[in-house]
């Protein structure tokens, strides 16, 4: 990643994320009251987070790759089923992935 790319991503993300928050304080409630819009908006984070798990855990550029990250992800899934708190989930995945990376 070039230096300019990182600044562009940083500045644009910061400005757009703030603008999107501020918009909520200016538009009337009725504008987004349509039930279909509410239903879709409630599902968007679930779709995006689901796709992000795949993109970050199983993909390298445009290829599906099963590597040490998948082992980490599997442990994270197990920890979530066991109701572990978020930091434990992330650390569990990290340690597992590092071990597989070194000993595989």
């Amino acid at each position: 990643m070039s230096a300019s790319t990182s600044w562009i991503v940083l500045l644009a993300t910061c400005m757009l994320c703030f603008a999107i928050k501020l918009v909520g304080y200016y538009i009337p409630e009725a504008w987004l009251a349509h039930p279909r819009l509410q239903r879709i908006n409630a599902l968007v984070p679930i779709s995006l987070l689901g796709a992000l798990v795949i993109a970050e855990g199983l993909v390298d550029k445009t290829r599906i790759v099963l590597d040490h990250r998948l082992a980490g992800l599997a442990v994270a899934l197990g920890l979530l089923f066991a109701r572990a708190p978020f930091p434990v989930v992330v650390v569990g995945a990290t340690v597992t992935s590092a071990l597989v990376y070194h000993f595989h």
């Binding site: 991503v9 940083l10 994320c17 703030f18 928050k21 445009t62 979530l80 995945a93 990290t94």
Partner: protein, 237 residues
């Protein structure tokens, strides 16, 4: 935290509202500390993705919306274009607009206070605020400001610690940090999957993303997964 919808009659005026109880402080601070600690994971993810410690900290100071920050650095790390990173992060933050719409009539803020309120309008501040509703309008406002400001403080401190830590560690794969990002997304997704319908949406989105990955440029499968939300959300359940 799920979006909570309340009716008009839940809004009490300032005069008739009782003072916020101690429980409001407790709720706000416990959420702020727990969530703030996730900042370590973001700090590490930012540096592992190739951002500097300063840039990683600026994300937390000025974007201040966890999932979007993870998305922006994650898409860049996995080879996506700047445009897809920005688009995914922005789409993930649109729920904050809905939170703002709900908080505006409860906070009734103007000028700089409105800007500050907007900046700390996130899952946690809105969630704690709305769950204070039975305790009165002042507790709602107190819950919002305390949770938002507390999350902001701890999230930024822990981002710095995570970023410095990751910088000191070096190659992300050596320390398993490249698995921390998908695990963090899974951890953010998990509490939202409160019933089988929502689980079906999540699994369908994941399968969809897997299927289109070989055919689309990096980053676009994430954006395209919004189609799954449209398909599921179009009709009533």
């Amino acid at each position: 935290m799920a979006l909570i919808r309340l009716g008009q009659n839940d809004r009490m005026s300032n005069e008739e509202a009782p003072a916020p109880p101690r429980e409001t402080f407790r709720d706000a601070l416990s959420v702020a500390l727990t969530v703030g600690a996730y900042g370590v994971a973001f700090g590490a993810a930012g540096v592992s993705a190739g951002f500097s410690v300063l840039q990683t900290c600026l994300f937390s100071l000025f974007a201040f919306t966890g999932a979007s920050q993870f998305a922006a650095v994650g898409v860049v790390a996995s080879g996506g274009t700047a445009l897809s990173a920005i688009a995914v992060a922005t789409m993930l933050s649109t729920r904050n607009t809905l939170y703002g719409i709900q908080m505006a009539p409860r906070l009734r803020v103007k000028g700089l206070r409105r800007v500050a309120a907007a900046h700390i309008t996130i899952d946690e501040s809105t969630g704690v605020a709305l769950t204070q509703t039975p305790r009165g309008a002042r507790a709602v406002r107190r819950g919002f400001w305390l949770t938002g400001a507390g999350c902001f403080l701890f999230w930024n401190i822990f981002t710095l610690l995570g970023a410095i830590g990751a910088k000191a560690l070096g190659n992300p794969a050596t320390w398993g940090l490249d698995a921390a990002v998908p695990a963090a997304f899974l951890g953010l997704l998990w509490p939202r999957l409160t019933d089988n319908y929502l689980r079906a949406v999540a699994v369908s989105s994941m399968v969809f993303a897997l299927l289109v990955t070989p055919w689309l440029p990096a980053g676009l499968p994430i954006i395209a997964s919004v189609l799954v939300a449209f398909v599921f959300g179009w009709r009533e359940r």
